[in-house]
């Protein structure tokens, strides 16, 4: 099955209020955003993520036996409103990030170029989360119209940021000396 832009945007608009800025200039606060139905769904998705955390943790343990891994989902576990589980994996010459969304059956791997470890990592994710589809890089980079996420305002919130959080930007980083 090929994930389409239309289908992903439909999912995203269920969790991020369309046309509502995080900052409401008229009232100098964020009340309209925080009390929206869509944001409430995001908070509930994060809560679901906490209750199903052991599955992610077991997968991270498996990856951690083969690679240097930093689990970035502890922020979610501690009560954060993250839209995904995330981790960084330190590969020779590059830090990649891996994500499993809590908003829909999607996962993402942020990397610079093709490398042999990626297929194995994707295999571990798909074995842990059957039926989840990868978000291709070119789709992840597309801007989501009329959506403001905590880290990025209108015009800057991409599909990857909406589905996987700001931690997406921590992957695809070339390491010095490589």
């Amino acid at each position: 099955m090929v994930t389409t832009r239309t289908e992903v945007l439909e999912v995203i608009y269920r969790f991020y209020p369309r046309g509502v800025p995080v900052y409401d200039a008229a009232h100098d606060n964020s009340a309209a955003y925080d009390t929206s139905e869509e944001h409430r769904r995001l908070v509930e998705a994060a809560q679901r993520g906490r209750s199903e955390y052991p599955t992610w943790e077991a997968m991270i343990d498996r990856l951690g036996r083969r690679y240097g891994v930093q689990n970035e989902a502890l922020h979610l576990l501690a009560g954060g409103r993250d839209p995904a589980y995330s981790a960084r994996i330190y590969l020779p010459g590059e830090t990649i990030s891996v994500h499993v969304s809590l908003l829909g059956p999607y996962y993402g791997i942020h990397h610079l170029g093709e490398r042999e470890e990626l297929a194995a990592i994707a295999g571990v994710i798909e074995a842990t989360y059957p039926g989840y589809e990868p978000i291709p890089a070119e789709l992840g980079d597309e801007v989501v119209p009329e959506v403001w996420v905590e880290s990025n305002p209108f015009g800057e919130a991409t599909i990857a940021l909406c589905l996987f959080s700001e931690v997406w930007m921590w992957g695809g980083v070339r390491e010095p000396g490589s």
Partner: protein, 164 residues
């Protein structure tokens, strides 16, 4: 007049408190003939935070597995002043949360005091570069966003999160 005298004392006392306090930006005053103009006359805000402003506590214990683990968080509530002579000083607070691991793959263990020192450094650098003319709510949102960005650019491996 007594009232005027009292007002002058209050203003003087308040100015002293503000100058000694934290997070103060003094507004621009009209330059005298000998004063530099343009960017040279911009005054940097007086900013001084303490590690005690960022009381980190463990929220997820380190299970000792792998090369990174554990999670700590500090809820901060920083104070800001904007003084533009001769206007009455404007004062507000920004509450936000900073979180980071107890142990990282790249930097090893991070104690609560080290986490606080990182936070002071980032908060001070961001506070000095802020626009104090912004409305309070927007100021706080931008302050949090700039802290998030500076943590990422300066200490990316740390994996710190800053949220409102």
């Amino acid at each position: 007049m007594r009232v005027h005298h009292l007002a002058a004392v209050v203003v003087l006392a308040l100015s002293s408190v503000l100058l000694a306090g934290s997070c103060l930006q003094q507004g621009t005053t009209e330059p005298e003939a000998s004063e530099p103009v343009g960017e040279d006359r911009e005054r940097l805000p007086v900013v001084s935070y303490r590690p005690e402003d960022f009381a980190f506590r463990v929220v997820v214990g380190d299970d000792g597995k792998g090369k990174a683990g554990g999670w700590q968080a500090a809820r901060a509530d920083l104070e800001f002043w904007h003084v533009v002579i001769p206007h009455w000083p404007r004062h507000w607070r920004c509450a936000f949360t900073i979180e980071m691991p107890l142990r990282t793959e790249a930097a090893g263990p991070i104690s609560s005091s080290e986490a606080a020192v990182f936070s002071v450094e980032i908060a001070e650098d961001v506070a000095r570069a802020m626009n104090y003319d912004l409305p309070e709510g927007l100021f706080c949102l931008r302050f949090v966003g700039e802290m998030r960005a500076l943590f990422k650019s300066r200490y990316e491996k740390l994996g710190a999160r800053v949220t409102r």
